[in-house]
Subunit: 260 residues, 2 copies
């Protein structure tokens, strides 16, 4: 029997595609994990009611160490595996898919809306002006990873924007916390990388996402409300991007000075 | 009245989200443009039957020069504007949204699955290892733009992958044509940028997308079948990416030599 990986989108139970819903309706067993990405605008209960199926929620450990258990179910049942956003973005999912294939299990991916493209639509920043992205993680034993900072630095050198995913592992990192962590690195390294415009996006996919652009030191004080939060550090702006940030993200008019 | 921009996804009429479908059901007028991205696995007729609404197809000129006409409809009607992939990726759509806002028209974006994230899931290449993306366009008056080539070059210098969107303006560019255009630039510039692994993806979002990885000179001869096609030029590989390309994209085992 096959395993179908379904990305259920950004915010609530209605962000799933018709194709994804159809796969659930045909499933014998529906599994889900929400530790790599979580839909904040819904509950397991609401999802079960709309999808018409019981959902078995898996923990990080279930997925990372229990792959064999998951796959043993696939032998006799039509299994659907749900994740937030688009499917297969996390290496854990790719690993599970590769193991399934090794066991001769058919796999299929059904895509869903992802923050990866949604930030472009919400901010008006152009997708081909983004460099590589990175994740800002909470400090581990007081150690703050400088990887996102270096990513921003390289992207800025090429006038590219940086999409930063914020940690959701223990708790939901806010844009304010993310900026504070970046500034902590900057103070230590005494470089001048962060200066300029940044954009925060909260609750992408909801009826009223908050999208706010400003100089990064001002943005740090802005209240974005409930999670999930995403941060974009802006490289140089094209004039149409500047116009979009002013109109869509309430940026101050001064950002026009940042136009390339 | 509001204008709602809905991204209807990758391949066929079932790639729309429940939220997008709901917006169509509540619309007085449904507009669509398919010149920036087209769903190859469906027809206007099939979409109209599933969505239960007449769809008015707009040409490039309608959208680019007829924005005022489109917006005049919004005054009295609840308008939904459909596009392939995720919504608002093209500057044309952003422009339309900004004009609507200037006229005091409420706007809303409903996201859909995008090739931008789908390539990661289909190939197993990790999203944070992609640099900036680019579009390969058909030659204009025999002039071939070197912009995608330069993008690949910079990305490769940082060991990053490059996602290349292929032109769909006049006809659908194949992966084979795209590689030929890149080689044409390489022959002229006598550089050695392209060498290495590439991955072609055809019909993302369909039941059986073709995903094939190989050294670029071999990939050029591979028959990917019907459009739409997308090309990834691979930077250095992580071992899990190499494993994924071998298993998901039928890459030759030799690509393990390209592991960083």
């Amino acid at each position: 029997m096959p395993i179908t990986f379904v990305g259920i989108g950004l915010y609530d139970e209605a962000d799933i595609t018709l194709k994804g819903l159809e796969a659930i309706k045909n499933a014998d067993l529906v599994l889900a994990e929400f530790y790599t990405s979580k839909l904040m605008g819904t509950t397991l209960d609401k999802m079960e009611r709309l999808y018409g199926k019981k959902i078995h929620l898996l923990s990080r450990r279930d997925v990372e160490e229990g792959a064999d258990d998951i796959l043993s179910n696939v032998k006799n049942q039509n299994v659907v595996f749900l994740t937030g956003g688009d499917s297969m973005i996390s290496t854990t999912h790719i690993d599970l898919r590769l193991r399934a294939m090794e066991q001769g299990i058919q796999t299929r991916v059904i895509h869903g809306p992802s923050i990866y493209s949604a930030v472009c639509g919400l901010t008006g920043l152009q997708n081909y002006r983004f460099g590589k992205s990175a994740t800002i993680a909470f400090p581990y034993k007081r150690h703050v990873s400088e990887y996102p900072y270096d990513t921003i630095k390289v992207n800025k050198e090429h006038n590219l924007h940086t999409l930063l995913f914020l940690d959701i592992a223990e708790r939901y990192m806010t844009i304010n916390q993310a900026i504070e962590l970046l500034f902590r690195i900057e103070r230590r390294r005494k470089e001048d990388v962060l200066k300029g415009v940044a954009v925060g996006v909260a609750r992408a996919g909801s009826e009223s996402p908050v999208v706010k652009a400003d100089y990064i030191e001002h943005l740090q004080k802005y209240d974005f409300g409930l999670p999930l939060h995403t941060l974009v550090i802006v490289g140089g702006l094209h004039f149409i991007e500047a116009e979009a940030l002013i109109k869509l993200a309430d940026a101050p008019n001064e950002i026009e000075k940042e136009i390339l």
